[in-house]
């Protein structure tokens, strides 16, 4: 593994260089070494690195190190962040799950609010929603449906596992008072549902009298 000093110098110089270097530039750098020897060192080095994780390559008479092309796939790292789905996105996802396949216009009409395109993108990025074709209707709108990953993620074996409207009502999830209260106090504030019911009742009673 012993190398002559010139080859070591060439190797170090090319490694530390900020741009590719020609044999002439290297010769100048390494105390005016004979060009023929520089070239021979370059060939030896290229040979040495031919099978390694890095390569010494010549491009337009200038030399530089680069990583081996077949390793490109390795040199990518995926960093994952976990983010909570926004309230709007959750609503859109729920609508798609209950009504699929649905178009964006239908989603909006069910939600009663305009839906930004980004929301659907997020759901598709999450892998829970896919485009399920186009509706044979005027304008042929794109329609959306959930994916098998959606069922996996939410622990459902089929969409029919989702509770029906009656069950939702039974669990109080359709209580309009809660919604009105939410709207009043602004978003995501969770309120004790018991408190909510009671205050709702009294308020209702008073307004009737």
């Amino acid at each position: 593994m012993s190398m002559d000093d010139l080859a070591r110098g060439v190797e170090a110089a090319l490694f530390a260089a900020e741009e590719p270097m020609s044999a002439e530039a290297l010769a100048g750098f390494l105390g005016d070494a004979p060009l023929a020897e520089i070239r021979s060192s370059l060939r030896d080095l290229a040979e040495h690195y031919s099978e390694r994780g890095i390569r010494l390559v010549e491009r337009g008479k200038r030399w530089h190190f680069q990583t081996a092309p077949d390793l490109a796939h390795l040199l990518r790292r995926e960093s994952e962040r976990t983010r909570k789905l926004s309230r709007a996105a959750t609503e859109v996802l729920a609508i798609i799950a209950y009504h699929e396949p649905v178009s964006r216009a239908e989603i909006e009409s069910i939600r009663g609010v305009q839906t930004s395109g980004g929301t659907l993108d997020v759901l598709m990025e999450a892998g829970w929603v896919k485009i399920a074709g186009r509706r044979e209707a005027p304008g042929r709108p794109t329609i959306y449906a959930t994916t098998p990953e959606f069922l996996d993620h939410f622990g459902l074996s089929t969409r029919r596992d989702l509770p029906g409207i009656d069950e939702l009502r039974a669990t109080g999830l359709l209580d309009p008072v809660e919604e009105a209260y939410d709207a009043l106090i602004g978003d995501d504030e969770v309120v004790d549902p018991d408190d909510e019911d009671e205050s709702g009742l009294e308020e209702g009673g008073r307004s009737e009298a």
């Binding site: 995926e78 960093s79 609503e91 799950a97 069910i110 009663g112």
Partner: protein
């Protein structure tokens, strides 16, 4: 102990004034190679009395642990004298240090019985320990600076490709959130249905009927509360009281009953007026 600290600390507190001159750049190799007999007058190279003492100590060419504090004190005082003779302006801390060392010297020479606490030996030993520590750090600094240093002696790759990092977002949502969201949507967009709750009330008509029927029974005064249904639940009772009061007023207006109240908020009484 207190006194010791005070004295030893004095010099470097005083050195604060000269702190500006403390950050100079200086070649350590050059310093250690200085010939022993050089005249040490380039004040620029001294950061402060402790440094000066350390350099003087170094010139004794012995281990700092075996340094003679007395000899050191003599050297320092001599140095100050020389500098003074050359009319160099000495920083105040040099003079404070000189005064302290002179005191230390006289204490060291005094018979031990006459010494105060802390003893001169203690002060001298602590001074020696300080010099050892400073000396050790100066040496360590020189060795550190002399290492093969990145970007001076050794170099990193000039143009690394960099490792690509792809940021993926893993979205999180659970079943309950999903279902709750749907419930929220449905609730928000459901057609508004106003449900009137069933409440126990006594309407004015029934109160009127009840009060006038009961008035027909007697000619005596009756308190309003006696007209209320006896076993009514509290909410019905409240409603009945209000309705009965209005009914009583109505009857009075029609000339069928008269009302009396003896004091404010007192019991309200009514009786039939004979037709």
């Amino acid at each position: 102990m207190k006194q010791d600290e005070l004295l030893l600390d004095l010099p470097h507190e005083a050195a604060a004034g000269a702190a500006g001159g403390e950050d100079w750049s200086e070649d350590t190799a050059h310093r250690t190679n200085e010939p022993e007999d050089a005249l040490y007058l380039d004040l620029d190279v001294w950061a402060g009395p402790l440094y000066l003492l350390l350099d003087l100590a170094r010139r004794q060419k012995v281990d700092l642990r075996q340094i003679s504090i007395l000899a050191l004190v003599d050297q320092y005082l001599e140095y100050i004298d020389q500098a003074d003779a050359l009319k160099l302006e000495l920083a105040a801390d040099y003079l404070v240090m000189a005064a302290w060392l002179a005191y230390l010297k006289s204490s060291l020479l005094l018979p031990k019985e006459e010494q105060e606490e802390p003893s001169a030996e203690e002060l001298a030993l602590k001074l020696q320990l300080r010099l050892q520590r400073l000396g050790a750090m100066r040496e360590a600094a020189a060795r550190l600076m002399g290492r093969d240093r990145l970007e001076r002696d050794v170099f990193l790759r000039g143009a690394p490709e960099g490792l690509r990092i792809e940021h993926l977002t893993r979205w999180k949502c659970d079943q309950y959130a999903l279902i709750e969201a749907y419930g929220r949507v449905k609730a928000r967009t459901a057609p508004a249905v106003h449900m009137v709750r069933d409440r126990p009330v006594m309407s004015l008509d029934s109160a009127l009927g009840r009060v006038s029927a009961m008035l027909g029974v007697t000619l005596d005064w009756m308190e309003l509360r006696e007209f209320l249904p006896p076993h009514a639940e509290p909410r019905l009772r409240r409603s009945a009281l209000a309705s009965s009061f209005v009914a009583a007023l109505e009857l009075a207006k029609m000339g069928r009953a008269e009302l009396a109240q003896d004091e404010i908020f007192g019991p309200l009484r009514l009786r039939r007026i004979k037709a």
